[in-house]
């Protein structure tokens, strides 16, 4: 903050570093806040943080699990980020990922004849199409009827859950188990766990996430479409005068956001589970909002933010076993406190202003004395 006052114009690099620092401070503050809550439960907060870290990054298997949890969050985080850039709030990533995963499973169950590389291509295409459609519906409603996308996407989440139940239980039900799940996908669709993570169910889907971030960054920052998206997000009147079709941007941005969210479930449907299980998503769609917020809508920062939340998820799982008083619920509190700190933008500004005021008061006192 003090160095910020010294030089007036910063380069892009410096700006990026500042934002990174800002995110790190927010995360650290959230972890500290959450951990200090465990002190109420009679635990040593430092010990809790150590367990968290060890459990998330300790061994290749631990790290693999963290990445496994991070994978869907990359996609949902990107999805929310795309909508953010267009000035839209996509609460519907949950529904979009549900239908995307379901579509991939249906293709995996039915298209048994398709051979290896093409089968995956087909599954990805199916998942993206389902998400594209589901996001696009909210976009069309917004653009043509002015329906607020927050309301419509929440409602579409319920509809998607209903469709998923119907298709799973009535059309592709796996009768060999008592679980509400579809039949397993054909072998040509299955993703194998990567060996470097020593048994963790992490698949190549994680790297698809990284590739998706690259594609999204290209779309947003290099293409004319992305220019329109960002223009609409920054100022709709400016976009109108510039001849950008605001309604088309709203529809396509929501549809593309949906397509990206549709990919979130692939790692599980084609990987660890090998089928579509009802309720498999641990609120990935909603966590994606936190991921996108922490990343401030930047595609590559989404990867880092997703890994952070994946690691928290994995680390929290072990707290239950390794401590006496901390349960899984407290781990959720920990995650929540990180999210609150990340979202508390104003707090950061208030602290900075407070410091500045103290400094200027000091100067005033000096000059008065």
């Amino acid at each position: 903050m003090i160095s910020g006052a010294a030089s007036n114009s910063g380069g892009i690099l410096r700006q990026t570093l500042l934002e990174l620092l800002r995110a790190l401070v927010a995360v650290a503050a959230g972890l500290l806040l959450g951990a200090s809550l465990t002190a109420i439960a009679g635990e040593n907060p430092l010990n809790i943080l150590a367990i968290l870290f060890r459990s998330a990054f300790g061994t290749p298997w631990d790290f693999g699990m963290s990445l496994f949890y991070a994978t869907p969050l990359i996609f949902t985080g990107l999805s929310v980020a795309i909508a953010f850039r267009a000035g839209l709030f996509n609460i519907g990533a949950e529904g979009q990922l549900t239908l995307g995963a379901l579509a991939a499973a249906v293709v995996g169950v039915t298209a048994t004849g398709v051979a290896a590389p093409w089968s995956l291509f087909l599954a990805v295409l199916a998942a993206m199409s389902a998400g594209f459609l589901w996001g696009g519906i909210a976009g069309v409603l917004k653009a043509t009827r002015g329906s607020h996308e927050v309301i419509t996407t929440i409602m579409l989440n319920f509809v998607a859950a209903g469709i998923a139940s119907f298709v799973t239980l009535e059309m592709f039900r796996n009768t060999e188990t008592q679980n509400p799940e579809t039949l397993p996908v054909a072998a040509s669709f299955a993703l194998k766990p990567l060996t470097m993570f020593e048994g963790a169910p992490t698949t190549v889907a994680f790297f698809w996430g990284i590739a998706a971030a690259g594609v999204v960054a290209f779309l947003l920052f290099k293409s004319v479409w992305g220019f329109g998206v960002r223009a609409v997000g920054q100022s709709e009147p400016a976009a109108l005068v510039a001849g950008i079709n605001v309604r088309r941007v709203q529809i396509t941005a929501m549809a593309v956001a949906g397509a990206v969210a549709g990919l979130a479930g692939l790692g599980e449907v084609l990987g660890s589970a090998g089928r579509f299980r009802l309720g498999f998503s641990a609120d990935y769609g909603f966590m994606g909002i936190a991921v996108a917020l922490l990343a401030r809508g930047r595609p590559f920062a989404v990867i880092l933010a997703a890994i952070l939340f994946g690691a928290l998820h994995k680390g929290a799982a072990d707290l239950d076993f390794e401590t006496e008083n901390v349960t899984r619920d407290l781990a959720v509190v920990l995650q929540a406190s990180v999210i609150i700190m990340v979202c508390a933008d104003g707090v950061w500004d208030a602290i900075r202003d407070g410091l500045r005021r103290r400094r200027s008061t000091a100067i005033r006192a000096e000059s008065a004395g």
């Binding site: 010294a6 290099k222 004319v224 329109g228 223009a231 009147p237 400016a238 005068v241 001849g243 200027s360």
Partner: protein, 554 residues
């Protein structure tokens, strides 16, 4: 802590306002540095300076919205430490903001007492929810104040039904009702017709005669000369001059504001019409009615444009004069086809020589228009002209993103990609040719001063040599130093044969630049003048809705 007005019988009254070495810093910007000046009691004091010179920051400190980092402010000889505008009002300092702080759906009476409601009788002892306003008492008090100062307003009318000049009078009355002795007015004439301005100045002079002190912030130097007793000039956050109005001139003040001598009025010779004098833009019998999209009901809507016809030929500037909100914006939007689905239009708009018109007006969209040879300077620089979070490099393609010469070679027909080298070169060219400072194309556009933002927009639109230019309020909020630059570029474009339709609420600007002047009132063109016949008084009358005989009018 607040100060109360001093009742003194002493002849040597302390000055109304005294700033002593006041500094204020925001982040790395020094908004005010060592600002000292004195406002004598019972005087009208002008604060002038370019945008960003520090006038507003200084006034906000006087009014309790900011606190000085260093230095003292004295009101009536007492040290004032305001932590809110409530403290300022209590000390007798009131402010009329540029955008009025009135509730449009409430009555004038309610607006005046809002926040300082007199409570009736015993109800003041009840919990807040049960207290009632003593409207009868308030009415008496306000009427008395209005009579005393010649500020008469209809107390029972709803604010939204009143003219802007009347609303401003309500704002002033609101302060007087709160017993303000010192009135600060921020750009009070920006929204007024010449006639309303004259009334305002009369009111202010009367207030001064009654012993009030008035501080007026303005860009318009002729108003400073006409109204004030003393002037303080700001530049770069500092006070650079303090002069008695009697002893100065517009040129001297402008020179102090900019720091070099400035040519104030551009000498503009009439444009020479292009050889082919058929109009480039022609609007015929255009009537526009707002359409309620959701219900499809438009029976009750009042037209925003009524039978507007005009033509602009190559090599001329046609100025549209009028008080804001009389249809200029709607005309601009109609020509640009912005938000077309919200309007129901009859009449015809033709832009000649462009393939854009070949499909007829029905199929014309903003997107297609923007690909023709058209330059657009929108009304609201911040909301419509720029993406403030984006760099100059991105802003120079805003509006031209669909043009192929901005695209990279890797583009696919239906999915174009921006060419980073082309856009970087264009940004560098605009920044250099139009003298945008600081000249870093990667800098966030929101960080530029108003004048430089406008130069960036002008650069973007003029660098392509458009045949038709729609320019709205080109110098609003622009530094004095940049005005001459912007106007001369506009005139140069005209001399190269462009047709220019100029919208401005600044009559001086219209009269200086225009070869022909149209006056708009209530959605209709109510008068037309040439450069020779343009008469300030008659135009002013028409702008205010006055009737001047015009053949075939209405």
């Amino acid at each position: 802590m607040a100060v109360s007005p001093v009742k003194s019988t002493d002849n040597a009254l302390p000055p109304a306002i005294r700033c002593i070495g006041v500094s204020k810093t925001f982040g790395s910007t020094r908004a005010n540095e060592d600002v000292s000046f004195t406002v004598e009691r019972g005087s009208i004091h002008g604060l002038v300076g370019e945008n960003g010179a520090g006038k507003s920051t200084c006034v906000k400190m006087l009014y309790g919205l900011y606190r000085p980092d260093v230095g003292n402010i004295e009101i009536n000889g007492r040290k004032a430490i305001f932590s809110s505008s409530t403290d300022a009002i209590a000390a007798g300092v009131g402010m009329v903001h540029q955008h009025f702080m009135l509730s449009p759906t409430h009555s004038v009476l309610d607006n005046i007492v809002l926040g300082a409601e007199p409570l009736s009788g015993w109800s003041r002892f009840l919990p807040a929810a049960f207290r009632t306003i003593d409207r009868v008492g308030a009415r008496h008090a306000i009427t008395a104040a209005g009579k005393a100062y010649g500020l008469e307003v209809p107390l029972d009318a709803k604010v939204e039904t009143l003219a802007v000049g009347v609303q401003q009078r309500i704002e002033i009355l609101k302060l007087l009702y709160r017993k303000a002795q010192i009135l600060i007015l921020d750009e009070p004439t920006a929204v007024l017709t010449p006639a309303e301005t004259a009334v305002l100045f009369g009111n202010l002079r009367r207030l001064k005669a009654e012993g009030h002190t008035i501080v007026i912030i303005t860009h318009k130097l002729d108003e400073v000369l006409a109204l004030t007793d003393q002037v303080t000039v700001f530049r770069g956050g500092r006070v650079v001059g303090h002069v008695a109005t009697r002893e100065t001139s517009a040129e001297e003040l402008a020179g102090m504001m900019v720091g070099r001598s400035v040519k104030l009025s551009l000498e503009v010779v009439s444009g020479r019409l292009a050889q082919d004098s058929s109009p480039i833009l022609s609007v015929e019998h255009l009537t526009v009615v707002p359409r309620k999209v959701s219900t499809g009901d438009n029976t009750t809507a009042k037209p925003v444009l009524r039978d507007v016809s005009l033509a602009v030929r190559g090599g001329e500037i046609v100025g549209v004069a009028g008080v804001e909100g009389n249809g200029q914006r709607d005309l601009f939007d109609s020509i640009l086809q912005v938000d077309r689905h919200l309007w129901q239009t009859t009449g015809d708009i033709q832009i000649s020589g462009e393939d854009g018109t070949s499909g007829g007006r029905g199929r014309m969209t903003t997107a297609r228009l923007r690909q023709t040879s058209l330059g657009v300077i929108p009304f609201d620089r911040h909301r419509e002209g720029l993406l403030l979070e984006a760099s100059a490099r991105e802003n120079v393609i805003l509006g031209y993103q669909a043009l192929r010469d901005n695209h990279s070679k890797v583009s696919v027909g239906w999915f174009p990609v921006l060419g980073s080298r082309v856009t970087r070169e264009r940004a560098a060219k605009v920044v250099q040719e139009f003298d945008v400072r600081p000249g870093d194309p990667e800098l966030r556009s929101g960080a530029l001063s108003g004048g430089n933002q406008q130069k960036l927009i002008f650069g973007r639109e003029l660098v392509r040599d458009p045949r038709l230019i729609l320019a709205a309020n080109p110098i609003r909020g622009v530094d004095v130093g940049a005005i001459e630059f912007i106007h001369s570029r506009l005139v140069a474009a005209r001399d190269r044969g462009a047709a220019i339709l100029l919208f401005s609420s600044d009559l001086d600007e219209i009269l200086t630049l225009s070869d022909r002047v149209l006056v708009m009132y209530d959605g209709a063109v109510v008068g037309e003048f040439t450069r020779k016949t343009a008469d300030r008084a008659r135009i002013g009358l028409l702008m205010g809705g006055g009737v001047v005989a015009r053949s075939g009018g209405q």
